[in-house]
């Protein structure tokens, strides 16, 4: 039992800055693993699915943990921002309430305090929740190594099951979201068995920007969780809605197209058939919710009525 209980042995490194992380990654290429919150990595190490010789801790690098507004109005989130910090950030809530809500649902409160957005994007599983809403926002990530830095759109970041664009000597430092200059609304809806624990059976995110006519969708982005080997944009469904009013019939059509674009697999959690049906329903619901926000909200797209304060949020008293 000790074998299963204890982690495999490693040398622990605690860098203080991004250049130091890069130096360590270069020095131990292929032998080192980055450790963010560890909520995925520790489990994989315990199961001996990953056995790194060096563990590079990122909790000691303060410059990786921030959420800030850029001068041009864009939003940048540091890789080490925790799910809790994202869900409670006023900036994220005002801008993209659905992203804050996604963060609030990354497992139990115990998991929110430790899990990070960088770890969520880099583990490369199609079942984690941050990629879909971020894909609908056209997010980009910054990858840094001793060779330099590069900006990679999230659409294209996922190369296959558990395969991302991050090279062994690279580190993801931040997630960038450009400003949206039209009225917009977004939603992310996931289906799962047990709120606090369960990995998402299937999820759908939608983000709609309104045309200046105030009537039709200028642009629509839709992305799916656990519906393909990678987090997936469904561009056919998006195209079907652009320039149109997002009516009930339109959402139904988009849901159908999305379910044809998806290629989910059967696992113990659910059959592929059920997941395909879920895609149809969840895409419709996400679009409905996003459209309601875009047509009823002010410019920001945040609809407070859809958004409950987390019970452990100190601001909860202000809402009573």
């Amino acid at each position: 039992m000790n074998y299963l209980r204890e982690l495999p042995k490693f040398e622990y490194l605690a860098p203080q800055s991004i250049p130091e992380v890069c130096e360590m990654l270069a020095a131990h290429e292929g032998e080192a693993k980055l450790m963010a919150g560890g909520t995925d990595l520790i489990i994989m190490m315990r199961r001996r699915e990953v056995v790194p010789h060096y563990l590079i801790g990122l909790k000691s690098v303060p410059e990786l943990n921030f959420i800030r507004e850029e001068k041009d109005g864009g939003l940048t989130i540091g890789a080490m921002a925790t799910s809790w910090e994202i869900q409670s950030s006023s900036l994220v809530r005002q801008r993209y309430d659905f992203l804050a809500k996604t963060a609030a649902d990354i497992g139990s409160i115990e998991n929110l305090h430790v899990s990070t957005i960088g770890g969520n994007l880099c583990d490369g599983f199609p079942c984690v929740d941050f990629p879909a809403p971020l894909l609908t926002l056209d997010a980009k990530v910054k990858l840094v190594s001793q060779r330099g830095e590069r900006i990679v759109p999230l659409d294209g970041f996922y190369l296959g099951y558990q395969k991302t664009a991050v090279e062994p000597d690279e580190l993801l430092t931040e997630i960038q979201i450009l400003p949206h200059n039209h009225r917009y609304g977004g939603a992310y809806i996931k289906f799962h068995d047990r709120h606090a624990i369960d990995i998402t059976t299937t999820g759908a995110g939608a983000f709609i920007t309104l045309d200046s006519d105030g009537q039709t969708a200028r642009d629509v982005k839709i992305a799916l969780t656990t519906s393909a080997p990678v987090p997936l944009r469904v561009k056919g469904a998006e195209a079907a809605l652009c320039g149109r009013k997002v009516t009930e019939e339109a959402t139904e059509e988009a849901g159908r197209i999305a379910s044809e674009e998806a290629s989910p697999r059967t696992s113990w959690r659910s059959t592929a058939e059920f997941r395909t049906k879920l895609v149809q329903v969840l895409v419709r619901r996400a679009l409905r919710q996003a459209w309601r926000k875009v047509t009823t909200s002010s410019s920001s797209g945040a609809a407070p009525d859809l958004w409950l304060m987390h019970p452990l949020d100190p601001r909860i008293g202000e809402n009573r």
């Binding site: 204890e6 042995k9 622990y12 909520t39 497992g107 452990l312």
Partner: protein, 163 residues
């Protein structure tokens, strides 16, 4: 590869200078090095909440946290809620309301409740359920647990206004 490294850990207000393997998890350090067996070793995958402790007031799963990363922070376990040998009002409420059956999930629930009431002294039933949703009770005492948290909240509120 170093088999042990020196670390300094603050648990329940006491500073411990320890010499531990870098791959040791906080749960194992608490139980095996410090003899604090309140935090329970159960699913060891973050699914059940039995190993929950507070780090700087925040509940976390100690089965998924490296001890070496818990330095320079205040760790509180269920043992740490006891004051002058007397159980904390939350602990008392759990006992009095029958929220403790086999007791295995209790220490984790008690510290998670502490974190909840510190932020939200007057939670609704729904808020309690969400805040404690990371905890499994195999005896199924969920109704009593919720009642105990409500009772503890009332008790704490009364203390504060000096009733």
């Amino acid at each position: 590869m170093k088999q042990r490294v020196p670390i300094s850990l603050t648990v329940n207000g006491e500073i411990h200078e320890l010499f531990i393997p870098p791959w040791q998890l906080l749960l194992d350090t608490l139980r095996d090095e410090l003899g604090l067996t309140g935090a329970k070793r159960c699913c060891i995958e973050g699914q059940c909440g039995a190993c929950t402790v507070l780090i700087d007031g925040k509940p976390i799963n100690s089965c998924l946290y490296l001890t070496i990363e818990a330095q320079n922070q205040e760790i509180v376990t269920a043992e740490g809620l006891v004051e002058d040998g007397k159980p904390h009002p939350i602990q008392k409420a759990f006992v009095e309301r029958g929220a403790v059956q086999c007791g295995f999930c209790t220490p984790g629930l008690v510290v998670a409740t502490k974190a909840l009431l510190d932020q939200n002294p007057n939670p609704t039933e729904d808020e309690i359920r969400i805040a404690l949703s990371g905890h499994l009770c195999r005896c199924g005492a969920y109704v009593q647990i919720t009642e105990a948290v409500m009772a503890a909240a009332r008790e704490t509120a009364q203390k504060e206004v000096g009733v």
